[in-house]
Each structure stands twice: as C-alpha cells, then as structure tokens.
C-alpha cells in the first residue's frame, strides 16, 4: 500500500534536485527551470497532505490549484524580462547581468 511518506520522499528528492540546479546553473532560464521543479514539489506535497490526512477536506487541493495559476503568471513575467534583458545585453547568463546591480 502506498503511504504518505513515499510521496513526501519523492517530492523531497524533486525539491533538492531543484535546489542543486538553482545553485549550479549559470543561465537564468535554466535557473527558472529549477524553480519550476521546486514549485512542483510543493504542489505535490499540498495535494498529498490533503489526500492522506484529510480525505474529506479540500484546502490543500485548492492551495495547489491557486499555486499552479500563480506559477504560470510568474514564469510568463520572468520570461518576458529575460527576453528584454537578452535584447539589451545579448546574453542572459547571471555573470553578465551586472547592469542590474545597484
């Protein structure tokens, strides 16, 4: 039988794979991909907690749903910013974004 722990461990692996990518990547778009991994891990946790601990409830379910909508908005804005940065600087790796420093 599948337990809550198994799903939590899968999502923890996903989360820390995302953190590893966030720390090592240089391209901003690759960093955004890692952030997507982390956000997905949290969504999976919300749904799993709701399903296993409160089978009649719906709070985690709706939290995951709204989280997906907000993530979509976030990545759309981030991609727009990166395309604009590419137009200005012709490079989107984090080492070259020194103009954004204050």
């Amino acid at each position: 039988m599948i337990e809550l722990n198994y799903i939590l461990i899968v999502s923890a692996v996903m989360m820390f794979a995302g953190i590893f990518g966030f720390l090592t990547r240089r391209s901003t778009l690759a960093i955004l991909l890692s952030i997507e991994l982390m956000l997905n891990a949290t969504d999976l946790n919300f749904a799993a907690f709701n399903r296993f601990l409160f089978p009649g409830g719906h709070v985690g379910y709706f939290f995951a749903l709204f989280s997906i909508a907000i993530t979509a908005a976030e990545s759309a804005i981030a991609i727009a910013i990166m395309i604009n940065v590419y137009r200005q600087l012709k490079d989107i790796s984090v080492g070259k974004l020194e103009k954004m420093k204050w």
Binding site: N5, F20, L29, L33, L53, P55, Y61
Partner: protein, 177 residues
C-alpha cells in the same frame, strides 16, 4: 502488489530520474524537455490520488503552456548553446553536498514524524477512493464561487486580477522600443 503500487513505482522513478536529468543536462533545451517528463510524472501522481481535475490542470498549464513558453524563450535567446556552468569543481561539489545534506535531513524528519499516527481522521487507502475523498467538478465549482466559510471567491478574483496584470506587464516589458 496491485496495479496502483506498480504505477506508483513507475511514476516515482520517472519523477526522480527526470528531475536529476533536468538539473544535470548539458543543454538548456534538453533540460526543458526533461522537465516536461517530470511535470507529467507529477500529473500522474495527481491522477493516482484521484484528483483528476488537478492532474488535468497540471497537464494543460504546465506541460502544454509553461514548457512550450520556456522552449520558445530558450530558442529566442540562444540559450540552447549554454553549458551547465563555468563553475569550479569545488563549487559544484559544495552545492551537491548542501543539497544531499538537506535531502538527508528532510527524509529523516519525514520518517521520524509518523504523520499518519497522530491524526484525527481515519487514513484512507489510496486505491478505490471514496466519493468524498476525490473532489468532483461540481464541488470544485461550488467552492470556487461561494462566499461562505469554505468558499474561495476572494482568491479566485485575486488570481484573475493577477493574471490580467501579468498579461499587461508581459506586453509592456517585452514590447519593442
């Protein structure tokens, strides 16, 4: 071992392998392709838990929308040629050590916590979920647009305003000057 367990193992292996491939792939375009499979695996998990609507939203928004958006952005910014990093070996090793330590701490905490035992509600087996455990479209619609204690009308409207602001902002930021 029934079909639910087999499906869970397949999805878990898919998610873990695709996540590692996403952060280790040499080209960013490949990383986006691997991310697609990780997201599909998560959608499969939702289906396995009986949350069919959430799984469909995941497939539509993430796999159909966001990944395609990323692929377009990578191709537009010549990011496909980007390498994993110009980091030193030492930096990569430190990051890997940090991630593994965190993962170990998390897994230890999860296994120690015994979440199901101190729980007021009776845990239900994952297979053959009851009518109340899997949320129907009818219930989702009622909760989404009701204003009582269990209603989500305010976040619903807030998200609609957020998406409108997002559309306008994306147009303003990315337009040609």
């Amino acid at each position: 071992m029934d079909s639910y367990n087999i499906m869970f193992v397949i999805l878990a292996v898919l998610i873990v392998c695709a996540s590692f491939a996403t952060v280790l792939a040499k080209s960013v375009l490949r990383a986006a392709a691997y991310l697609f499979f990780a997201l599909l695996g998560v959608a499969g998990m939702y289906f396995l838990m009986g949350y069919t609507f959430l799984g469909s939203v995941q497939v539509m928004v993430y796999c159909g929308g966001i990944v395609v958006l990323y692929v377009f952005a990578i191709l537009l910014t010549r990011g496909a040629k980007d390498k994993l990093s110009e980091n030193t070996k030492q930096k990569i090793f430190a990051s890997a050590l940090l991630s593994l330590t965190g993962l170990g701490a998390f897994v230890y905490a999860i296994l120690k916590a015994n979440l199901l035992h101190e729980n007021l509600f009776r845990p239900e087996p994952l297979y053959a979920p009851s009518e109340e455990a899997t949320i129907s479209i009818n219930t989702i619609g009622r909760h989404m647009l009701s204003t009582d204690v269990n209603g989500y009308l305010l976040p619903f409207e807030a998200v609609s305003v957020l998406l409108l602001a997002c559309i306008v902002a994306a147009l303003v930021i990315a337009r040609k000057r």
